[in-house]
Symmetry: C3
Subunit: 215 residues, 3 copies
Amino acid sequence: CPVIVYLLFCVFIVTIKTLVFPSETSDSYVEMVPLKPLQLKAFTLCMRLATELKGEREVILFAYRTGDYDELNVWRELDGRLSFYLSGDGVFFQVPELGALKTHLCVTWDSSSGAATVFMDGRKSLTKIYKKGHTIRAGGKVLLGQDPDSYLGDYDAKQSFVGEVCDVNMWDSVLPDRTIKDLVSGKRVQRGNVFDWETIQLKISGTVEVIHREL
Amino acid sequence: CPVIVYLLFCVFIVTIKTLVFPSETSDSYVEMVPLKPLQLKAFTLCMRLATELKGEREVILFAYRTGDYDELNVWRELDGRLSFYLSGDGVFFQVPELGALKTHLCVTWDSSSGAATVFMDGRKSLTKIYKKGHTIRAGGKVLLGQDPDSYLGDYDAKQSFVGEVCDVNMWDSVLPDRTIKDLVSGKRVQRGNVFDWETIQLKISGTVEVIHREL
Amino acid sequence: CPVIVYLLFCVFIVTIKTLVFPSETSDSYVEMVPLKPLQLKAFTLCMRLATELKGEREVILFAYRTGDYDELNVWRELDGRLSFYLSGDGVFFQVPELGALKTHLCVTWDSSSGAATVFMDGRKSLTKIYKKGHTIRAGGKVLLGQDPDSYLGDYDAKQSFVGEVCDVNMWDSVLPDRTIKDLVSGKRVQRGNVFDWETIQLKISGTVEVIHREL
């Protein structure tokens, strides 16, 4: 029964490319090229990240901007909460502080119900109702590391990301909780259809190191 | 070998009824009808909960009151510690703050040794010795959402529960650590014999929503 | 197929000896006798611990001292960060606070790259570069509970450990992340070759209780 033998005895060491933002800058960022336009009525966005930025400091975790709008920005807020913004006011979650330990973070949103949740290391938050009926617009650019206040510029070092980030994947649907738990433990159950970190094309600007780490 | 096939390929999405207390009130609560009288010399009490109440705010998590006594009350204290009280002074545990992420919480106590512990998401606390030889009395009522300061009334909005709670189960014994870890991951290894959330009779007062969420 | 039957139906309750330091002292400690000299160019050091010491309080978690040097000391710092020191300045990690819940903590370091990381409950930190090329010296003593400021004395109650600690194991190499995750879940994948808690010789001074707890 070879499948069983495989499950019991084989351990593979999997490495993954990891982006290291070593210091606070206003010009280091990574553009991620999507597999399809980001016209979205639902999404799941996941990443692994660690940052020791602390105290009264906003940190941009993901920025998708079109000409005039922050279409989907994910933040660590001044007070430690996580939030995301779909062109306008945001939705906030009071969660454990990001820190030196790598966190597997997912954000999900569904336009039809407005259900918005976050997951940290597979633990799901309570559900908030946010921007029911909204659609995220296509035609912009996605950045890691900086928050563009115009298209694409006006970066603020005091909002930049410093730390390690990897395994950024995105889907145009809300994944089942069970699937997100599998992602945390490294099972590649389903590849992202908007961003797939294994094959993703990255455009690096400024000082960002790409290293390979054990997943 | 059908058992194996089942293990490898079948993923069920399990939903569970969840109580949502949307706002601070002094009159919203849920009475839970027990399967047997709560005359207890040991117990394990588990639940999943999320609450964004924060700062200088007590939060009642479980209240079992007889005529004159708070027989078994579980609290989030002003300073974020978890505690429980068996008719008198309580026992306190310094644990990570409750927040937007759902926490699987268990409390165990055994009269013969006095051993008291809490578990959060399967992580066990150190052991404290508390009320050795005590017996919890039968004949009262169990509430979620409010702390009755008389039988049954005198609710204080500033102590009420706001957030989501589900999967409240109770046993008249201390479960092995391993069993509690299985409960966290959703394995229904053993149904509660004092409260069993799957079959429980709930009496809802005030504004409490019952929704179904993926476990 | 007996292997499968074993996997599906057998649950063993494993107990482990646990050291309880019940109160703050300047004379309670445990010396751990190593299996080989601690001349090390790499290591993995793991333990399970819980402590409710809080606020402006340093806590010594592991002290290896030779005649004139703190060769390898692991601390909870005043501000809650974890750190370790290899004879000189330390390396710091901003992590969740230690508390009443038992934490599985590992520290790894490799001289050839200088890579230093911590793991809490299997979650790995970002990587810091620290003391590349350094070698830890043999010939000292390892203590739990106190930090010796001379060889071996000058203990400070305000730095002592109070709480529970067990499962202290050490290797002279950096274990794969996967192996550390297995250790967290209690799989005895690889016994420590510097310290092996199952067979370790302990020399207890002062008030330290040895109890057996379910792992």
